[in-house]
């Protein structure tokens, strides 16, 4: 007699999911780490999750002198506090889309930008060829979607692993203009990431202001970044 005949099969992956999310809500350190690994190793790098709400808040506590021994950046007082401020400052709906705004770049420049962030030379990891059959989600006719720019397109065909759009964002171009090894890429990116002197002054003064006032955001800072 088969005692298992009438017993429904159990979807054990569902238990995984439930357990994992419960522990995730508990903010258990090892679970968070696992979450990172799972998201990354799933081959999607979080592809399905378009917006992580406030994941950019990377510092949760006020900085105090006891934190000095736990932070390598405390070697320099000025930038230690600056990094703390940056880690806690919420980025607004006005600032984020501007950072993620796209520029038109040559595929060669995009490919060279990718080299900074990827050490292997496998052709499939180069963002030089884009998916030819991608239908973009029409956000222009949906004004309520404007705040959601950054969503992936609706896939209709095979995609390339590296999405070139990521390298065409204003923020990434600023990073390339300052950190890329190739002087050519630095110079090319700098033309897109130029910050006028009066804006430099405005941004620095806004940061000095919030550091002195000991707050994570201010209207002046919002205006400077926007």
């Amino acid at each position: 007699m088969n005692t298992h005949a009438g017993k429904p099969g159990k979807l054990y992956t569902s238990d995984w999911h439930t357990t994992f999310t419960e522990q995730m809500k508990g903010q258990h350190a090892s679970v968070k780490r696992t979450h990172n690994v799972v998201v990354q190793s799933s081959g999607t790098a979080g592809a399905n999750i378009s917006h992580f709400p406030n994941y950019h808040i990377s510092h949760c506590h006020e900085l105090c002198d006891a934190d000095r021994s736990r932070s390598a950046s405390s070697k320099d007082d000025s930038t230690w506090v600056l990094q703390q401020l940056m880690g806690m400052t919420p980025l607004s709906t006005k600032v984020c889309p501007r950072m993620m705004g796209l520029q038109e770049l040559s595929s060669t420049l995009v490919s060279q930008c990718a080299k900074l962030l990827k050490t292997d030379n496998r052709p499939v990891h180069k963002p030089t060829v884009l998916c030819p059959v991608v239908r973009r989600v029409n956000t222009t006719n949906n004004s309520h979607l404007n705040n959601y720019d950054g969503h992936s397109d609706l896939k209709e065909g095979q995609m390339q692993p590296w999405v070139a759009d990521q390298f065409k964002t204003n923020l990434m171009l600023s990073i390339m203009a300052h950190f890329h090894l190739s002087s050519y890429v630095r110079e090319e990116s700098a033309s897109y990431a130029f910050v006028p002197e009066h804006v430099q002054t405005m941004v620095m003064l806004a940061f000095a202001d919030v550091i002195e006032k000991n707050v994570t955001q201010s209207e002046m800072l919002e205006q400077a970044l926007g």
Binding site: S50, L82, L85, S174, M204
Partner: protein, 486 residues
């Protein structure tokens, strides 16, 4: 990945893995899903590398997918079959995280784990430091000083970067990525991870040990251009002797003065005049230029332009256009270009810049001598010479030229004029076409290719001039055989 539960909103918006149509996809972009429902494992990791349509249909029908909108596992909608990638694994999509949510801005609260005093305060009132005193003053002073902009901005950019592009498995497998096991074939595969500086605190290097083949980095073709070779050429002028065969010498007085030298008791006269021999009977005179090589000046040594030195680049560019002075700058342009897929040698001559108008003659004195197949000599033009030049090669070459600020090499050619005119103007001639040069390719000591295309100069190495004059001995051992000289 640092994460603060208090500051995070509880709802996610996600890109739907499956949707009936574009309309539903847009709807789902706006539809928030609870934190508990967020999809964690994407089934692409378990997808086979290549599968037929039938196999894919069978796999989709026998596997469940998590539907975060309905909070259940369910069979895949057959309508979504066609939108699935045909080949997964290496070519699977890899999006990077975007880490802000406009929707969450409204309900921010202060980060407060373990700090009850700040738990309910709004984010705007959150403090960033406590009891740091002079440290804060120094930080503020740092920001007040505009001269610190570069240091300041680099710190800001790096923190922003960590906000928008998360990395967590950066140290796995020597920064290559995360290992995962395919469900179908039990095959271990590596999946790339997120966006970050892979090299950490160290800069990238080409390879650890260039002498080891397995350590070699991306292969490239090395192209050496030597566009500016300056040498003296002899000319000959012959005329028919006799009375008025070449015509006359014109002369004319300009000053005639008489004087009395009382000291010596003599009279004297001074007579000044100008004279010039003018040839008006050209048929009795022959002028021939470039009849013999009269020695090398410069431009053919082993010095290279330093691409990262603006002074080196600028001096090279200026000297190339300057025809009235002796050339005295680095001789070679050494460039690393993507590997060409063509298994054949370049043509000879080559056009050593990307483009040139058709109808150009390599010899400026031959107005009818234009090359009919000029495009087949443009080795850096992927449109006109696709057989050898790939677009990537042309792009890379263009980058070098942009760096040099010499994208319009044809301008140099516009100054081109016959040797005689250049001689009268005391200038040099130039042409943006070049002979390919000599190159000998050895593999394990065996000669597999020997190109002898040095043009009118013949082989070029120390002592070859005496050979050309008939006084030297051709000594093969003395040749620089492992280079391409253009």
């Amino acid at each position: 990945m640092p994460f603060c539960k208090e500051t995070a909103s509880q709802d996610f918006t996600i890109c739907a893995c499956s949707s009936q149509d574009a309309q539903q996809y847009v709807q789902r972009l706006l539809q928030a899903v609870p934190w508990d429902n967020v999809l964690i494992v994407h089934d692409e990791a378990g997808g086979p590398e290549v599968e037929t349509v039938d196999a894919r249909r069978e796999r989709c029908l026998t596997n469940f997918k998590w539907d975060p909108y309905l909070n259940i596992y369910m069979a895949v909608n057959p309508a979504a079959f066609e939108r699935e990638p045909l080949s997964l694994g290496d070519t699977g999509e890899m999006h990077l995280m975007r880490s802000f949510s406009p929707a969450s801005m409204a309900n921010q609260h202060a980060p407060a784990a373990g700090r009850p005093d700040a738990r309910s305060a709004p984010a705007s009132a959150a403090r960033i430091h406590v009891e740091l005193g002079s440290v804060v003053a120094r930080a503020a002073a740092f920001c007040w000083d505009p001269s610190n902009w570069l240091s300041f901005y680099k710190h800001v950019l790096l923190v922003w970067m960590s906000h928008f592009w998360k990395a967590s498995t950066r140290f796995v497998d020597d920064s290559n990525g995360m290992m995962a096991v395919s469900e179908k074939k039990d095959k271990v595969r590596f999946f790339s991870n997120g966006m970050h500086f892979m090299h950490g605190s160290r800069l990238s290097e080409l390879c650890k040990d260039p002498s080891l083949k397995e350590e070699a980095s991306e292969a490239c073709d090395i192209v050496i251009l030597r566009p500016n070779i300056e040498h003296e050429m002899l000319g000959v002028i012959m005329g028919h002797g006799g009375t008025q065969e070449l015509d006359v010498t014109f002369w004319g007085q300009t000053e005639l003065s008489c004087y009395d030298n009382s000291q010596h008791n003599i009279w004297g006269m001074s007579y000044k005049y100008h004279e010039r021999a003018m040839v008006t009977n050209e048929r009795n005179m022959i002028r021939a230029y470039d009849v013999a090589y009269d020695g090398y000046d410069c431009g053919m040594d082993q010095s290279c332009v330093d691409w990262n030195d603006i002074v080196s680049r600028k001096s090279y560019s200026d000297s190339t256009y300057e025809h009235s002075k002796p050339y005295s700058c680095p001789s070679m342009l050494v460039m690393a270009l993507p590997v060409s897929l063509a298994l054949q040698a370049w043509p000879n001559l080559i056009v050593f810049h990307a483009d040139m108008n058709t109808g150009y003659s390599p010899n400026s004195k031959k107005s009818q001598g234009a090359l009919p197949n000029m495009h087949e000599h443009m080795v850096f033009n992927s449109e006109k010479y696709p057989r050898h030049c790939m677009p990537a090669m042309q792009e890379c070459f263009t980058q070098y030229m942009v760096k040099m600020e010499m994208t319009q090499w044809a301008n140099v050619d516009q100054l081109n004029q016959p040797a005689g005119e250049s001689c009268v103007a005391n200038e040099l001639t130039s042409t943006p076409m070049a002979f390919q040069g000599s190159m000998r390719v050895l593999q394990n000591g065996v000669l597999i290719e020997d190109i002898k295309g040095s043009g009118h100069l013949g082989h070029s190495y120390v002592g070859i001039v005496s050979v050309g004059e008939g006084r030297g001995v051709l000594n093969p051992a003395a040749q620089h055989t492992m280079m391409r000289m253009v």
